[in-house]
């Protein structure tokens, strides 16, 4: 098989992102922005991890892409992309909505708020069939509980002996697995039928194992050689992006690289933290195993203009932006002040 048989989705490069962000102006005055920040007690010059994740993810959506998204961060990501540097991007939601333009943030993929100004609001069968299987979804925004070297997602459960994966009717222990997660929902078909997966997760070592316990959603491969998604019959996809609260990772299936490689480390985060929070040997794109002292790219800092839009237009009541990561909560406890990073540039 020729490697070039896989046409990659073009994920904007760091340089392209920086150029587009630089030329974007929100039209929101500094006075209005400062008044908003004062009223909501957020520093105008600093951003939180949740804000960084929403902004970083929004810049990596291919121009005009249609994205199948869940609630929470993906809603912020896509709404922000539409209001900033990617106005042609399209949202698909699994309760049947195509190309909505939210006026009020939906709390569920089946919240009627998510259908506002949609082209169509059909059924779930249409989301996954008419829109996605038929070939009109570029990417999917997915979360999960575990994420592995090949981009596989576990959203199902965890077990340790004597417990196994089965529930009590067949487990032989009278109990089910140790931990049950949400289950696939739309995760599996979104990952199977779109050209790329944008995963967003909190990065902890235990959640980033070499191999997830249950492969709810397939990444580029189940494992090394001979285990690619195409060996199993998946007809498209394979490109993966992981935006964690520490870094961004990416694979390059068009070049035969199925495992996730480091793309950039977030501002004010050390490469050591990133390496310490994955169970596999973290590599850069060239395949070099990274050491904490290596020089690696930094995720572009959010701009003032992006922050203005995210705060004042996308989530003005801070339904999602108020959330803190586990790492931020720990930082606040230790230092007596919230984790904040200053806007650069």
């Amino acid at each position: 098989m020729s490697k070039k048989a896989i046409i990659p989705v073009h994920i904007p490069t760091v340089e392209e992102i920086e150029a587009r962000v630089k030329s974007f102006n929100s039209g929101i005055s500094d006075t209005d922005y400062e008044a908003y920040c004062k009223e909501n007690d957020v520093p105008p010059e600093e951003f939180t991890t949740m804000e960084l994740l929403a902004i970083a993810s929004s810049t990596m959506i291919p121009n005009g892409a249609s994205m199948f998204i869940g609630t929470g961060l993906p809603v912020l990501t896509m709404t922000l992309a539409q209001h900033t540097i990617n106005s042609e991007a399209i949202i698909v939601m699994e309760a049947g909505m195509l190309d909505p333009h939210f006026e009020h943030i939906p709390v569920s993929v089946a919240d009627i708020r998510g259908a506002y100004m949609a082209s169509t609001a059909l059924s779930m069968m249409d989301s996954f069939g008419t829109y996605e299987q038929r070939g009109y979804v570029t990417g999917g925004g997915l979360g999960g509980a575990e994420y592995d070297e090949y981009g596989n997602i576990n959203a199902t459960g965890l077990w340790e002996a004597p417990r196994n994966q089965w529930t009590s009717i067949a487990s032989g222990t009278g109990k089910g697995p140790n931990v049950i997660f949400t289950g696939s929902g739309g995760s599996n078909p979104i990952g199977t039928q779109s050209d790329f997966i944008l995963s967003v997760m909190v990065q902890e070592k235990r959640r980033f194992p070499y191999n997830v316990q249950f492969k709810t959603t397939l990444g580029a491969a189940r494992g090394p050689e001979g285990e690619s998604r195409w060996d199993y019959g998946v007809p498209r996809g394979g490109k993966g992006l992981m935006v964690s609260d520490l870094c961004i990772m990416e694979n390059f299936p068009e070049e035969g690289i199925y495992d996730m490689r480091l793309r950039s480390v977030h501002p004010d985060v050390s490469l050591k933290d990133v390496i310490d929070n994955v169970m596999w040997e973290l590599k850069d794109k060239s395949g070099k195993v990274l050491k904490p002292t290596d020089d690696v790219p930094t995720t572009p800092s959010p701009s003032h203009e992006q922050l203005k839009v995210l705060r004042m237009i996308v989530d003005p009541t801070r339904i999602y932006l108020k959330r803190k990561t586990v790492r931020e909560v720990a930082y606040e406890k230790e230092h007596g002040k919230p984790w904040r990073v200053k806007v650069k540039g």
Binding site: K4, A95, F128, S168, I169, G176, T192, W230, D231
Partner: protein
């Protein structure tokens, strides 16, 4: 011969149609148009060992699990999304063994099953779940509930003989999109690539997709394009909440359809719970806007506010403050005693009938167990119908745009 009326009380419908260990698919999805009134009546009648199916509609499953009446579930997602990552009483019920069987699907594989069920097809095909561990997770198979018994009859009439079957595509991938067009073929001279947006697996000229597709060598022992066959869903009972239903059963859903049309039409028996029973003519002036044909409907129950605490679009919004209350209370599911206390809450809050619930119970939720103290609190302090009227939807949006929704 006069036709018997399908309209009946919710009490009668539940005692007639809801059976232990028979597949009951409940309509709605999360916060939207969930059929909540019939689950409330099932709690009143305390019907045990329920076998529930849903496509991501965790709300009724959460209710039944909370009330301690669930044994088997066949579903795709047990999260409550923004308000609680995993519905806690379902999760603990599964982990501790109270809910004994959990048959996993993805939203699309389940939708394909209901699509096949709706049309009476022997199976539906798609590519979802392939390559994942979902394909191998067959709890009903492991429990011996599939296939035929010594009499040559199905072991369980509502459970198909296999979770799915994977075959080599007999049409050699012809139907997969993007479809293959060859600009050098005499019948398609100069043709351009398929107009669909996905391009993965295309050669650089964008037209030859077969190489990757034919690399697949798992499952069948042969390198060929694969196809997954999903059996139809044939639930014993479907219960679906709608805004309006005619007196003969013609029903119309407004707003999001979620999985309800396919699910409803795949069942052996269909009970429609409706905000309002209307003369058939009211719906027949625009039959193209109706989704449920009256021939499929076996019973109609009028249950105003029957979707509460979820949104019934264009009529009323979800009651966010109830969810805020409940995710505190359901933490009690951690222990058997806590689960008992939670079941007591459910058996009390549903009242003696729907009228009692709506008038006297809405907004009065209170739960205490050990260190857990949860109380329903809405800004106005209103209860009963006064609270329900606060949730009435804005007709432009279909929801209440200024609803207070603290996280």
């Amino acid at each position: 011969m006069a036709e018997a009326s399908k309209i009946m009380s919710i009490k009668e419908a539940v005692s007639k149609f809801v059976k232990p260990h028979r597949a009951w698919v409940v309509g709605g999805f999360g916060y939207t148009r969930t059929n909540a009134s019939i689950p409330r009546e099932v709690i009143r009648q305390n019907i045990p060992n329920l076998y529930l199916q849903t496509n991501a509609g965790a709300t009724p499953v959460m209710m039944m699990a909370g009330a301690g009446q669930l044994d088997w579930i066949e579903m795709t997602y047990i999260g409550l999304e923004t308000i609680q990552p995993v519905s806690y009483e379902i999760r603990k019920g599964l982990e501790d063994g109270d809910i004994s069987a959990y048959m996993l699907f993805s939203n699309y594989s389940w939708a394909l099953r209901t699509q096949a069920g709706r049309f009476g097809m022997q199976f539906a095909t798609g590519m979802t779940d392939i390559g994942s561990d979902l394909i191998e997770y067959d709890i009903f198979g492991k429990a011996g509930l599939r296939g035929k018994n010594e009499k040559g009859m199905w072991v369980h009439p509502d459970i198909p003989p296999a979770r799915q079957v994977i075959i080599d595509d007999p049409f050699d991938g012809w139907g997969l999109r993007p479809h293959q067009y060859d600009p050098e073929n005499k019948w398609s001279q100069g043709d351009v690539p398929d107009t669909t947006w996905n391009k993965t697996a295309a050669e650089e000229d964008g037209i030859f997709y077969e190489k990757l597709r034919k690399q697949a060598n798992k499952y069948t022992g042969k390198a060929a394009v694969k196809a997954v066959l999903y059996p139809p869903a044939i639930p014993y009972l479907a219960t679906t909440h709608v805004q309006r239903c005619g007196n003969k059963g013609t029903a119309r859903i407004e707003g999001l359809l979620v999985p309800d049309v396919e699910q409803s039409l795949s069942a052996k028996y269909l009970v429609i719970a409706t905000e309002k029973v209307v003369p058939e003519e009211e719906l027949r002036f625009r039959p193209s806007e109706n989704q449920i044909p009256m021939i499929h409907v076996d019973a109609i129950v009028e249950t105003p506010w029957g979707g509460y605490p979820t949104n019934v679009t264009y009529m009323y919004d979800y009651d966010w403050m109830w969810w805020k209350f409940y995710i505190q209370a359901n933490r009690a599911a951690d222990t058997p005693d806590g689960r008992k206390a939670l079941a007591d809450y459910w058996h009390d809050i549903v009242g003696k009938d729907e009228w009692d619930f709506l008038q006297n119970k809405v907004g009065t939720d209170k739960f205490e167990f050990g260190k857990i103290k949860a109380k329903y609190e809405c800004p106005s302090g209103a209860t009963g119908f006064a609270r329900l009227y606060e949730l009435i939807a804005d007709t432009k949006y279909g929801y209440k745009p200024d609803q207070y929704r603290p996280i």
